[in-house]
């Protein structure tokens, strides 16, 4: 919900005064940058706040902040706004969840973060937030490689093609999205920047070469959003397979009167589709394209050969 102009300004003022006090003074330019507003806004707010206080509005009853002609802002310890406001529920949750998430990752400065979180929790009241991001085997190694700029030689399992390939990568950033760990890396063999799933690394070792991570690398909004190499597949699924549309981004979903689902998915590889259909079971059907209607029976027959081999 968008805040009103008043709420926005009030909140800023309530944060700004204790901030200036703690910082031992500031400037209009610094406050504008830190609070994300124009210098004119800062001046306008401070000029008003300097006139606020409690009756009888004498010097000792005013909010203790002052703006000088040269843009210097001073605050001194008065009776009000010496300390910041308590955290709102949204702020409290955001910082606790962020801290808990990072505490779960190997290699974090867990002593400092753990100390900060226990102080926070004792102030906020214990709120039992737990973030379980998982830690696939090579996560620490890849993260260290990002921090030290170490090129890695890896073997990587591609679930789309069900094959293992070897390559050399420059890892730029490790990130978790939808509960999975990825590494954004420059693939030296193709020259492309790709997102590799960390849990699909079969091996990883430093080559001894180094690189410099380019600035401003950020996680993509969504790792998988379909692509040029995808085939759109239309599936008819039983009601028990609702998890499919809750787990994977579907192009479209139609729920039929009997609860069955007709789902269009962008599929990158036949192996991925095999895996999906074997899990859903005999009630799943590929409606189109015709070239993929036999994927599940063919895969089941192939797997059965393992079980029936002498």
């Amino acid at each position: 919900m968008a805040r009103s102009n008043f709420a926005e300004r009030l909140r800023r003022m309530l944060m700004m005064v204790p901030w200036v006090l703690e910082a031992g003074g500031s400037t209009v330019a610094e406050l504008a940058a830190r609070f994300g507003v124009s210098e004119d806004d800062v001046v306008r707010d401070l000029n008003l706040v300097m006139c606020c206080g409690v009756p009888p509005y004498g010097a000792e009853h005013m909010i203790s902040v002052m703006l000088d002609d040269d843009g210097t802002v001073l605050a001194w310890k008065g009776p009000y706004f010496n300390r910041p406001m308590r955290l709102t529920p949204t702020e409290g949750f955001a910082v606790l969840a962020a801290g808990r998430a990072l505490l779960d990752v190997p290699g974090a400065d867990s002593a400092a973060l753990g100390g900060a979180l226990s102080k926070l929790e004792s102030a906020l009241g214990s709120g039992s937030v737990s973030v379980d991001l998982g830690a696939p085997p090579f996560l620490s190694l890849v993260r260290d490689a990002v921090e030290s700029g170490a090129r890695l030689s890896v073997s990587y399992y591609s679930a789309w093609r069900d094959e293992v390939t070897s390559r050399s990568i420059d890892p730029w950033l490790v990130f978790s999205q939808e509960g999975r760990w990825y590494v954004t890396a420059l693939d030296a063999s193709s020259g492309e920047v790709r997102h590799f799933r960390v849990d699909r690394l079969r091996s990883a070792a430093a080559t001894g070469e180094t690189f410099v991570v380019p600035g401003g690398v950020r996680p993509p909004p969504r790792v998988f959003s379909g692509g040029q190499d995808t085939t759109e597949v239309e599936l008819d699924l039983p009601p028990s397979a609702r998890w499919v549309v809750e787990t994977y981004p579907a192009v479209s979903v139609d729920e039929l009167a009997d609860g069955r689902l007709q789902v269009r998915l962008a599929v990158t590889g036949e192996r991925w589709l095999e895996r999906l259909l074997l899990r859903v079971g005999p009630e799943a059907r590929v409606l189109s394209p015709p070239s993929l209607t036999h994927v599940a029976p063919t895969a089941a027959t192939r797997l059965l050969a393992r079980y029936t081999a002498p």
Binding site: F6, R86, P89, E91, F93, A97, L102, S130, V164, E178
Partner: protein, 319 residues
């Protein structure tokens, strides 16, 4: 109707009001507020309406404006953040965490940091990231978190079913947030996926409306095992010991996913034999078939036969 006040006038009135209500020990009546704070419009009705709007704005901003016996005040103990005494290293750790795991947009971690780390020396550009995590956001999370902290009973509709829950823990797993709590309707501990709770149905009860149960789990692992094949069984569900052979290609991944309750025998060719408890067969089947040709259920015979039947039914469905 009186002219609306200019934004500067109302801002000044609000700043004075907050200061005044923080300053008063015994609270101030509406009449005393009108006398003390300039800027309210003339006429009792207009002034009252303006004051009601101010009250709402302050409360929307989570400013603890309390009303008792017709007197208003903002208790300093509820308004100010207590001094947490964060060390420099702890401030840096929190700053990194909020940068790596941005939540709540501009009103979340960023503004919390402004309050918590105060005069920190770093500029606004933030540290260079080597690691980031995207926790799915949901507007109910701060609400449910507040209910856990205050021990307020929560009622809501989840998957179309009405629930009354003593909330105990929020946890994030595999891309989803879950609320764990004691479901009074079912008389059992349950996990609820937060994105399946109908937001419009949520009602939060009074503060301290239940006593925390000794059975409440101490970790997300206790609330919901990581391995889905261990979930869902009650105490009477039989557990069987599955034996799975996984080839070298997916051995590492399978061992990591099988979890700490599994035992692993490694072979010279890089393959492994994993022995693991299974309570829920369907979840186990889903996992093992996800490994495709790289895995084979070796035993026990009944479980192996069950997997073979499943595959046969799929193979036959193509005819």
């Amino acid at each position: 109707m009186a002219d609306p006040p200019s934004t500067d006038d109302r801002f000044e009135r609000l700043a004075n009001l907050v200061t005044f209500l923080l300053d008063t020990d015994k609270g101030a009546t509406f009449a005393e507020i009108l006398e003390a704070i300039p800027g309210y419009p003339p006429g009792d009705d207009s002034a009252r309406r303006a004051f009601e709007r101010d009250k709402k704005l302050l409360r929307d901003e989570d400013i603890p404006l309390v009303e008792y016996d017709g007197r208003y005040r903002i208790p300093p103990s509820e308004y100010y953040l207590p001094d947490l005494g964060l060390t420099e290293a702890e401030q840096v750790a929190l700053r990194l965490a909020v940068a790596a795991v941005p939540l709540g947009g501009g009103e979340g971690g960023g503004s919390a940091l402004q309050k918590l780390t105060l005069g920190g020396s770093e500029g606004g550009s933030g540290p260079t990231l080597s690691l980031a995590a995207d926790l799915e956001e949901h507007p109910l999370l701060p609400v449910l978190h507040g209910a856990i902290r205050r021990r307020s009973l929560v009622t809501f509709s989840h998957g179309g079913v009405a629930r009354t829950v003593e909330p105990a823990m929020l946890f994030f797993r595999d891309g989803n947030w879950y609320l764990h709590g004691f479901d009074r309707v079912r008389s059992a501990e349950r996990n609820f996926r937060v994105d399946r709770i109908d937001s419009s149905s949520v009602a939060v009860g009074d503060v301290r409306s239940f006593v925390r149960r000794p059975s409440a789990p101490s970790s997300s692992e206790a609330a919901m095992p990581r391995e889905p094949w261990l979930i869902g069984g009650d105490d009477s569900s039989p557990s069987e010991s599955a034996v799975v052979r996984v080839d070298a290609v997916l051995a590492g991944k399978a061992v990591a996913e099988a979890g700490s309750s599994a035992s692993v025998e490694r072979h010279d060719d890089g393959s492994v034999t994993i022995t693991m408890p299974v309570v829920q067969r369907a979840a186990f089947r889903s996992w093992v078939l996800g490994l495709l040709d790289h895995a084979e259920v070796v035993g026990p015979p009944a479980l192996r036969g069950w997997i073979v039947s499943w595959l046969e039914s799929i193979a036959g469905a193509g005819g």
